[in-house]
Amino acid sequence: MAEVIAHATPAYATEPPRVEGPRHTALRKLVRNRPAVVGMVVIGVFGLLALLAPWVDRYDPSAWQGAGTWKGPSADFWLGTDDGGRDMYSRLVHGARISLTVGVLSQVIAVAIGLTVGLSAGVGGRWLDSLLMRLTDVAYAFPDLLMLIVLVTIMGSSMTMVVLAIGFVSWTTIARVVRTQALALRDEEFVLAARALGASRWQIARRHLLPNVLAPVIVTATFGVPAAIFAEAALVYIGVGLAGPSWGRIILESFDASHPEHAVIPCAVVALTMLSFTLIGDGLRDALDPRSSTRRALPKAEQARVRRDTPPGEERLAA
């Protein structure tokens, strides 16, 4: 990739002009994006609380605290207690641990599958391409929720299985984005040059295509994290979710017709998290500049398809 000169050299400068790589440019754009920074701070704080959950919690998140149910916030119980008389703050902190793990790890799985399928389709030749894309069509049109329910019912709803299952239904978007990118890049000069030098398909995919498709993949995965957290909540809602206090479980258990206001705090925490991931995703998309990567040499409708495939992420699982 071409090096980008960050700023015009000031006239008084005696040192050589500062040249920065594309990664630095992206990073600088990202930290200048105020909403994205806010998002990163929020996720950073929640992530830290999640990591330190056993040390920063105040009570056992799953045990009756003897202060009664549905208590409002107080000095003892910062965010009140829920239907089981459990401390809401401690539950939310442990919930962060569970839900953020599900969100992030499931996207790691989705990226792994999506990259493999997308790159193989992109460099594998016509036959493999059409086979893999038909497979993606099938997976895309298959109702995610049924697949999730079935996988979790068969394999049991342990953390590992829930992460695997959600990853397994979330890869289609990434595969399509990667393939579209790979096809667009396939005829670029640097790929032709590599091929002329005798690089194998695998080498081209790994050394030349992979770095260039990573940007939209990271963006898609960022939007996928809240979708995955939501999917776990949906599983709890159906009754096959994780047994521990995930955010989804906390929300559903804190929802009570006679104490509706108790649902507001956990709802706000989850909404804030999802919002932060959206803001980070937006920021990353701008910083990694889709104009130079996502839209290269694509006809308009194909661009639109890419855009369609990089959604805020939730509406498919919502169905």
Binding site: Y237, K300, A304
Partner: protein, 308 residues
């Protein structure tokens, strides 16, 4: 063009067949069976029941029969919904879900395109920031959280609306709001981005230079060109909305297809699971097909695209 459409339509068939096969295998791989879950039956009664639904035959034979019946428009009999033909149960649910989804779609397209156009035209003003703020938040709040907050507000605090049900316009307000928030935000975001792209185009400058009034420039020259990406978003959104959302339908007690789907999984109502899965898949595939065909009408380059 005809060849393109034909090719796309034909490519649907293997996809649907594969989905039918996967669904069939998956639901039989789930532990549990239609008899004896919530209603303990004697073994002979269970055997009779299984024979009645053809569940005592080998899987591949069952699948074969299913496909033959499907080709004749027979979706089988529901074991959960009191022996009713699946087609009837689905038709009833679909009528409700499609009405609800159609309303939500109308709201999200109108509001989404409207907000997107306004914020693009008033870009970097307070109006734009407000709209962008709203769409960013609406895009990140899951439907069930929004639904619960609506319940807290309108039912718990204000006592304005009924908790749930289906039949009167008042009962439709909350589910429509809960369903349309996310698509509205999404459509608005795409419309805004797409409108911004047309702003600097030569044909817009030409239109202005010709002295056309602003309304004609915006509607006929900008919006028309900006709508293609929006259309691509609307396709899958429409498919998802019309086939019903199980969470929203469950939360507001709407007797739609999403709820029927959800309720048929636990009692292993195989015929219902098959039919609803296929209906969902057909909706997704057809919506994508319609979008691609319309896109091809707009843009001849798509017809030659390798995809499809």
């Amino acid at each position: 063009m005809t060849a393109y459409v034909l090719r796309r339509v034909l490519s649907i068939i293997p996809v649907l067949l594969a989905i039918a096969a996967v669904t069939f295998l998956l639901m039989h791989a789930m532990p549990g069976s239609p008899c004896g879950r919530d209603k303990p039956l004697t073994p002979p009664a269970c055997a009779n029941l299984k024979a009645a639904y053809g569940l005592d035959q080998p899987l591949w034979q069952q699948f074969g029969f299913y496909l033959v019946n499907l080709a004749q428009g027979d979706l089988g009999v529901s074991s959960h919904y009191g022996e009713r033909p699946v087609r009837e149960v689905l038709a009833d649910g679909f009528r409700v879900s499609a009405t609800l989804g159609g309303l939500a779609l109308a709201v999200s397209v109108t509001a989404g395109v409207g907000l997107g156009v306004v914020s693009a035209l008033r870009r970097n003003t307070a109006v734009d920031y407000l709209t962008t703020g709203f769409t960013t938040i609406a895009a990140s709040v899951p439907s069930f959280i929004l639904g619960m907050l609506l319940l807290v507000l309108f039912v718990g605090k204000l006592h304005w609306l009924p908790t749930g049900g289906w039949g009167s316009p008042k009962e439709a307000i909350m589910p429509v709001l809960a369903l349309s928030a996310l698509p509205t935000a999404y459509i608005a975001r795409v419309t805004r981005a797409s409108m911004l792209e047309t702003l600097g185009q030569d044909y817009v400058r030409t239109a202005r230079a010709k002295g056309l009034n602003e309304r004609v420039v915006v509607l006929r020259h900008m919006l028309r060109n900006a709508l293609l990406p929006v259309l691509n978003v609307i396709g899958p959104v429409a498919a998802a909305l019309v086939t019903g959302s199980f969470i929203v339908e469950h939360l507001f007690s709407v007797p739609g297809i999403g709820r029927a789907y959800f309720e048929s999984i636990a009692p292993r109502d195989y015929a219902m699971i098959m039919a609803t899965t296929l209906l969902y898949a057909v909706a997704v595939v057809v919506a994508n097909l319609v979008v691609d065909v319309v896109a091809a009408l707009f843009d001849p380059r798509v017809r030659r695209s390798t995809y499809g």
